[in-house]
């Protein structure tokens, strides 16, 4: 194949990929109040790089503050207080972190009331914030 033709195919494939991203895979879940964590604030002590199934990576900076708002079956739901989190596929969804055993295991989508699991949970060390 001639290089010029090959480059054209690459461009076309990239354009199609950009226009046809897959839906974020998720399942409906119930968010329940959880004592005693509810309302507690946490800070990430290291940067987190997550690779959702949809292919759009997400990063959380070290020092990002979260507040616990409840639990889903997969773990504790943490809402960012000063920044925003989204997951992206064919559409973009506001998201909260779901944390379990020191790891980010997926995202809770508050509008869809659904959980989008990470194919590979990643380390997300947290420190409870005691001062306001």
């Amino acid at each position: 194949m001639r290089p010029r033709v090959s480059a054209a195919w690459v461009c076309l494939a990239a354009a199609l990929a950009a226009g046809c991203a897959s839906e974020v895979q998720r399942q409906s879940v119930e968010l329940v109040a959880s004592q005693p964590e509810q309302g507690r604030r946490y800070l990430t002590t290291a940067a987190v790089e997550a690779q959702p199934e949809s292919g759009y990576s997400r990063s959380i900076r070290a020092g990002t503050e979260f507040v616990a708002i409840g639990r889903v079956a997969a773990g504790l739901v943490l809402k960012p207080t000063q920044t925003v989190l989204t997951v992206e596929g064919a559409h973009v969804h506001e998201a909260y972190a779901v944390h379990r055993d020191g790891q980010l295991v997926g995202f809770y989508l508050p509008v869809e009331r659904a959980f989008a699991a990470l194919p590979k949970p990643v380390s997300m060390p947290l420190q409870e914030k005691t001062s306001p």
């Binding site: 950009a18 973009v92 969804h93 509008v111």
Partner: protein
């Protein structure tokens, strides 16, 4: 400057097209005092697009919960007050990429519209940004929303 009259005319037409593609309303600082306070029980959504020539001619409608509320213009912003609850933002471009977010009463949120590459043409899609970044960007853009009452 080129001496070819056709090339020169094309350059002028292109320049006019690019300039007319940018938002031309008053800057945020000029109308800040005219922006009404949030009503009790409502939230506010700012929608903006940073200045830039990339895809500047693509200026789709912006829809919130399926209703047209404004346009995405380079360097322009507007806002819409909504009852609390789930919000869906989309634009009327070739590929529809919706943004879903929550809005609480008394809360202000910022949505940036960004130009990306679609299958055939450019598309404009909405992104949720944090308030610090959104407020800073809106301060640098021009108001293109509905006329505001004088303070």
């Amino acid at each position: 400057m080129t001496k070819n009259p056709i090339t020169r005319r094309l350059a002028v037409v292109a320049m006019v097209a690019l300039l007319s593609a940018c938002a031309s309303g008053p800057k945020h600082a000029e109308i800040q005092s005219s922006i009404p306070a949030l009503k009790a029980g409502e939230g506010r959504l700012y929608v903006y697009r940073s200045s830039g020539m990339f895809g500047a001619a693509i200026q789709p409608n912006v829809l919130v919960n399926g209703k047209v509320v404004g346009e995405s213009k380079p360097g322009g912003f507007f806002f819409v007050d909504l009852p609390p609850g789930p919000v869906e933002v989309s634009t009327s471009t070739e590929v529809e990429k919706k943004l879903s977010l929550t809005l609480d009463a008394g809360q202000t949120r910022y949505v940036r519209t960004t130009v990306g590459l679609g299958v055939i043409v450019y598309r404009v899609y909405p992104e949720l940004v944090d308030n610090a970044e959104g407020a800073k960007a809106v301060a640098e853009t021009s108001y293109i929303g509905k006329p505001l009452a004088r303070p």
